[in-house]
């Protein structure tokens, strides 16, 4: 049984995305009001950081001999059970910011579902990818 958790530095990347998006939107729509232009991005980033930090503790990815289990959710929990044999594709994406923090975004596809995992370390994602690919042949 292999268990993977999200990395602390991994949650900063989506928080930076939230900051950038809200900053651009507030500059476009709330330009004369300096407090709003700066307050909204910082406020939403703080909220995002809190949310992602809590999520990080509840997020776990477990690979058993023949299936992958992903658990997530703070109050409303969701668990995915996927047989390794029926995983059709596994891939990783890395933005420049993720390359700096050595984290990746990973997607796992089955014929009926797609899971996207943000914030795994590069080494973990590569290890997980190999485990899934090897596990499929069991």
């Amino acid at each position: 049984m292999l268990r993977y958790k999200l990395k602390k530095r991994g949650i900063f990347v989506p928080a930076v995305w939230v900051f950038t998006a809200t900053l651009i939107l507030s500059v476009i729509f709330l330009r004369p009001n300096i407090i709003a232009v700066l307050g909204i991005p910082f406020g939403s980033t703080a909220a995002a950081l809190t949310y992602f930090s809590l999520r990080r503790y509840t997020y776990s990815l477990t690979v058993l001999q023949r299936e992958l289990i992903l658990q997530r959710g703070i109050m409303f929990t969701t668990m995915h059970r996927i047989p390794l044999r029926y995983i059709t594709a596994v891939g990783t994406l890395q933005s420049p910011l993720q390359r700096l923090t050595a984290t990746t975004s990973m997607y796992i596809c089955t014929s009926g579902n797609i899971l996207i995992i943000l914030g795994l370390s590069t080494a973990d994602s590569e290890n997980l990818r190999m485990t899934i690919l090897n596990g499929r042949d069991v």
């Binding site: 023949r66 409303f76 668990m79 059970r81 029926y86 059709t88 089955t110 014929s111 009926g112 579902n113």
Partner: protein, 458 residues
Amino acid sequence: MQYRHFHPLYTLKYINYGLVLCLLPLVRAVLDFNWQQFLVALQQDAFILIVMALLAGVLWYFSGFEITDSSVVLHQGLFFRSNVTLSRDMIAAVECVRPLTYRILGGTQVIIYFKSAFPLKKITLHFFTKDAIQAADTLLPVKNMPTVFEPTGATRLVFVMLSANVVTSCVFAVYSIKRISKILGTQVEEYALHGITELSHFLELFIPAGISMLATFVLLITVLTLMLSLLRTAGFVVGRGGGIILTKGGFITKIERRVSAVCVNFCDVRLTPFARVLRYTPVYITAGGYRSDTPLFVCRMGQEAMLQRLLADFTMPTHKMCVVRKKSLPVYIWLPASLCALLIALICVAANINMIGMIPVLSLLLLFALCNLGIEIEAFIKEGFCKNDNRTFSICYGRIFTRHTVCIFSHDISFTIQQSPIAAKDGRCNLYINTPARVRLRARDAIPHRVKTVSFNL
């Protein structure tokens, strides 16, 4: 292997794009409200249509296909050429549709559905009829097809009633009226409304005035739906040969469907209100990107095992589906019960403020809401899932007047389990089964331990 062209109806798609482009000059002319501008817009439209027709013609000339022993190779595109090979092992179903206009022109629309609905669910092609038959025979060949189901007599009537689809019929009716009024240039909508009003006045002689308009609409929709269903299911035959399920039928639009039996993801036995009255159940199948809109089969209630002649692995649930005492009734009935309470309150208000005419309509709506409440209470008792003795999964759930009992054949499934804090405390969870058809089947209030420990078929 010979290179052949598609049917000229292939160009229809591009001409339709042209028609959409034609709207742009017309909208500009309407906004300017200028007659000269309108004439210019018409000239521009004619130019756009001619250009699109020429482009479509060129695209048709450079597009074509080849049929080999086990595959169909498509060549499409002018600047960006695409060569796609459709082989037998990629295909779940092939549908050959021949509406009246296509039959006159000797063409057939062939819709090819893939095994998995992701990334591409289906592809639509236009062939000459002879080529369409050859392509279908190449992709999903049918050998020695014995007829398994051919509705005749009373079964035919039952089949027509159970195949009727109110929603599509209403959409079809509204679309047809709009098309006719556009072609004839007359206000067909007004004539239709006038006719409906006259009919409702006639019905007022027999039923209360408040309910007559509603009754007229229900009557019209029922007649229309049954007529369309009668035309759609004329000459309907189902057979199975060489691992392929073949269905044929239709009067104005002839449809032939070939479904690979091994690709059938699940079959759905639906218990609709009509089915409860008639004591027959319609059965629908889903295979990859293909979802049937007409029942594959109708069988007497309690004799669903007859379906094994078409789908050998089919079974009704062989184990207990749920534990009722662990379920929560409000989860099921909060919506229909709220609706019933609201309607009862409205009836009381209508009675108090002397709006007696509204009471029959509201009572009728209350009756529908009560029926839905009954279905949800039944779902509370029966909804659940189990793994059968033959390793298939069964899931049972209620949704909008209908109870679905689904037998999942596909092994390629995954589970999603969701829990709210209250459900976690009570030991309940919602189970979603993800199938290759991109359809999620939901069973509420399942037992988490059972869901987490049930083994997949590997």
